[in-house]
Amino acid sequence: MYAQMIASQASDEDPKRLAAFQKRIDAGEKIEPKDWMPSEYRKTLIRQIGQHAHSEIVGQLPEGNWITRAPTLERKAILLAKVQDEAGHGLYLYCAAETLGISRDQLTEMLLDGRMKYSSIFNYPTLTWADIGAIGWLVDGAAIMNQVPLQRTSFGPYARAMIRICKEESFHQRQGFDIMMKMCNGSKEQKTMAQNALDRFWYPSLMMFGPSDSDSIHSEQSMAWKIKMNSNDELRQKFVDQTVPQANLLRLTVPDPNLKWKDKRKGYDFTMPDWDEFLAVINGNGPCNADRLSARKKAWTEGQWVRDGLQAHAKKNANIMIAAE
């Protein structure tokens, strides 16, 4: 998902305290920042929320690529609004992570020096305008699938961030589908462009949910702590079942010869993505990893004087106020 391959392990703290903590979670209570929590709970959440936040921020890059080239002024305004939302989502999540005792600057530095990751999906290029449609429809669609249950996650600040994000996210998916509809009802070339975008983004979208449950790294502890709400395969299946009829509606073909509706289990059989490709992308060898990271580094370094300037201005004004008192 926006947070992939987050391993969690049991804490080795006082079993009595751990049991009391688990009881609170089982009772549906929310854990707030100042409550006692197992150190592994805190660490896992920092990794997961941090990765999620980084994904929102890096996720602006593939779409930002098309802001200056959107086909109409209206599409441009819409895309700008969406990208601005993603910045806001990143901020909500950084704030949630900060309540766990880590600073945003630390998180940013860990992203820039490769200690923290972001979702594999944002390492794919956006080659045509149809990709912007496919991203909204598929990528935001997959994200929503994961984020809706996370609104009930056990950590209060994370749950509240998710509620805000979900409220804004449905516009993202709908604007993407709207682009796809327009292109699918357009010229032959536009339809081909839409089909190509689906062909390129289908499997990377399926990868967003992370490895198959059978190969997945340990997530039982995250499930018990209600940090992870559903298994990877469960959400992936749900996504496929929801998306295939939408592709049919667009009269596009999902690039999977094995795609087949199974009446018995009320779901589609489908081909899993290439997990070697997934691992390569998440480990830094995707088509755009270097580009994305260098863009983030450039923004961070070249923005330093703005941050410094704002701080200096604030300090100067504070001094003026003291002098005037």
């Binding site: 805190r42 806001g88 901020l91 704030c95 805000r164 941050r307 704002l310 201005h313 604030a314």
Partner: protein, 111 residues
Amino acid sequence: MTTTTARKPDETVEPQQGKVGAPLFEVFIRSQNGLNHRHVGSLQAPDAKTALLNARDVYTRRNEGASIWVVESSKITASSPSEKGPLYDPSTSKIYRHPTFYCIPDDAGAI
């Protein structure tokens, strides 16, 4: 009673290393006149004026606000979870503070 500052990590958090950025502000928004300002989240800004502008951009992009308050998080004094007992237990036994404690005959009419 001991108090701790909101957002200051409790004793179980490893101390922060590295530089700390701009101060954190808590954001409160009145969604329409007649309602209270409600806490919606927080953000970093070098000063209160910038925090207000940032809050406008981050929290009111869809007409959510009629008024915004920002306050530096370090200025907030918060109660601690460990004080839950001493603070709130005394009120649980005083059920006579609730109107439903009193049995009044129906004949008494509106009361």
